[in-house]
């Protein structure tokens, strides 16, 4: 974990101006990155707002680290207005990421919702086994980096809720179809909105498969001191709150005490 002032190399919108790819020059941080880790960015130009914003590390290439973000609010909006050569303060890499499947190990099935795809790219890239990535979104624009995954030699099965791209429906439907055709030696890796993660957790349980889920919780410090980002995690018969920024964001799905908090 380092704090570094990084320079923006590029900050490109998709055709709908909704998702952006931000490439930063971060030579000391790039070599340390593990799949599923994130960076914590300070966006100085947000009016009145102080906190950093967490983003999964999308790609690492030489000295650069990139993220793929959605413009959803004041921080991401201010970020979207930043230009090459401007500076950002970055803390990273942070968090406990995905377990890269060992050579000859389980065959990975990735499940992504929306910008969750970004968090899975490095895993796909570094996994010795190629597998299938199931991606879902509301509309066509929410299916983010299908080409990149395909270039890595992965099969992509896309679904959209409005049917504008791939199958119509939820990402878990083609996943279920695939698992019904055989589960031996499979492992699930998922990142996306909490309801999707929960559904993937249930499917893993049903098919008795291992699954690693990258949890999406609001964060504040990003380094484990403030205890904002906790989720209930089983400890024997009981449960406790653990931090998604340090113990996570990736948790083994069997450890999550989904109903503890309600």
């Amino acid at each position: 974990m380092l704090e570094q002032t990084v320079q923006i190399v590029s900050n490109e919108p998709d055709p709908t101006d909704l998702y952006f790819r931000l490439v930063m020059s971060a030579p000391r941080i790039a070599p340390l990155v593990q799949p599923g880790q994130f960076v914590h960015l300070r966006i100085q130009s947000i009016k009145d707002a102080l906190l950093r914003r967490p983003f999964s590390i999308f790609q690492v290439s030489g000295d650069t680290v990139s993220i793929l973000y959605k413009n959803v609010g004041k921080g991401t909006d201010a970020l979207s207005r930043m230009r090459p050569a401007q500076d950002l303060s970055l803390i990273g890499p942070l968090g406990h990421g995905f377990t890269v499947p060992p050579p000859g190990g389980e065959s990975p099935l990735l499940v992504a919702g929306g910008y969750g795809m970004a968090a899975l790219y490095l895993l796909a890239q570094r996994s010795p086994q190629k597998g299938i990535v199931f991606v879902g979104g509301r509309r066509r624009v929410d299916i983010l980096c299908q080409d990149e995954f395909q270039s890595l030699g992965w099969e992509v099965r896309a679904t959209t809720e409005d049917g504008s791209h791939g199958g119509k429906g939820l990402v878990t439907q083609p996943l279920l179809a695939e698992l019904r055709s055989g589960t031996a030696g499979r492992k699930l890796f998922a990142c996306g909105p909490t309801p999707m993660l929960r559904a993937v957790g249930r499917i893993a349980e049903e098919f008795n498969l291992p699954a690693e889920l990258s949890m999406d919780e609001h964060m504040c410090c990003g380094v484990g001191v403030c205890l904002t980002c906790v989720i209930p995690v089983k400890t024997g018969a009981d449960w406790e709150y653990q931090r998604t920024c340090t113990e996570g964001p990736v948790f083994d799905s069997t450890r999550i005490a989904w109903d503890a908090n309600s």
Binding site: D48, L50, I91, H218, V225, C226, L227, T228, C229
Partner: protein, 304 residues
């Protein structure tokens, strides 16, 4: 040039601490800053047993600030000693332990346990957490209870005792005096201020606990006023905090009457804040020909 200050019998190499609950148990930030540069490390509030804490969401960002309702999640005395003390006791700078309880007896017992541990720099009594129903706040808003809890801890330890007052009172002077009279060696001012936010999209309170405590730059003007008033009421030193982001902020607290300061929320977005504040105070002293940081303390009142 002297930057060191004294809190009871505890000598600090400089007057800049980190605030309880914003610095974990020290180790978390050790990769980003050199902890041995700080005046002291102050750890997250600890009660006798482990505490699960509040449901999420636990923090929400507001204009120039943050509302939190963590609910004092923590490992309890034993968990702390086992998990975090081995790291902290090796630091060259003192560790101040922030403690709380739900009864006077529990406060005293926790104080006894840390007294027995050996090597602790000081105890900070949190009588002002707004986020726990059964504990904390009621001791901070009742002068009599406040005196009792401080006196009980005083009898349980010879460690320097710092009482962290609640800002949520009509006037802070009587509370400051009650803590002083009951044997507190210093005061910490201020804890977070009771606050709330609503997410109009979901029509729900933004925090799982409904209400929480406001911190960050937005509360600095309230904190300065409380330090100013308390400094006029007592002789014991005050540790000022609330919204410190820069050396200018810290100096404002010193001039208002604080002997030391603590950086809280700012660490979350700028982990190096406390060390930057130390450097900035040193620079200010240099450029103004100030030999001893204690010349700054209360210098606004003195100048009147």
């Amino acid at each position: 040039m002297n930057l060191s200050v004294q809190i009871g019998t505890l000598k600090l190499q400089n007057p800049v601490l980190v605030a309880s609950g914003t610095f974990g148990y020290g180790a978390e930030y050790s990769e980003l800053i050199d902890l041995n540069q700080l005046g002291a490390v102050v750890v997250k509030g600890i009660r006798l047993g482990p505490v699960r804490g509040n449901p999420t969401p636990r923090t929400v960002e507001v204009a120039s600030g943050l509302i939190n309702a963590i609910g004092l999640q923590g490992p309890g005395v034993d968990g702390f000693i086992k998990k975090y003390w081995p790291f902290l006791k090796l630091l060259k700078v003192p560790t101040i332990i922030n403690i709380w309880g739900t009864t006077v007896e529990e406060y005293a017992e926790v104080a006894r346990r840390f007294d027995a541990l050996g090597g602790v720099g000081a105890l900070e009594l949190n009588v002002s957490c707004p986020n726990i129903k059964e504990g904390g706040a009621q001791f901070g808003t009742d002068v009599k209870l406040l005196g009792e809890v401080v006196a009980a801890c005083r009898q349980s330890t010879r460690l320097p005792l710092i009482t962290k007052l609640s800002p949520n009172v009509v006037s802070i002077a009587p509370y400051a005096r009650a803590a002083e009279d009951a044997g507190s060696d210093a005061l910490s001012i201020m804890n977070s201020y009771p606050a709330m936010a609503i997410d109009i999209k979901t029509r729900k309170p933004s925090l799982g606990n409904v209400t929480g405590g406001l911190t960050g730059p937005c509360i600095k003007p309230i904190a300065i006023k409380l330090v100013w008033e308390a400094a006029a009421a007592v002789k014991i030193p005050i540790i000022g905090m609330g919204g410190i982001q820069t050396a200018t902020d810290a100096i404002e607290f010193l001039m208002a009457g604080a002997t030391a300061v603590a950086v809280g929320t700012a660490t979350f977005y700028e982990p190096r804040t406390a060390v930057q504040v130390i450097a900035g105070v040193r620079e200010f002293m240099q450029s103004h020909g100030i030999e001893d940081v204690r010349e700054l303390v209360g210098s606004v009142r003195a100048a009147k």
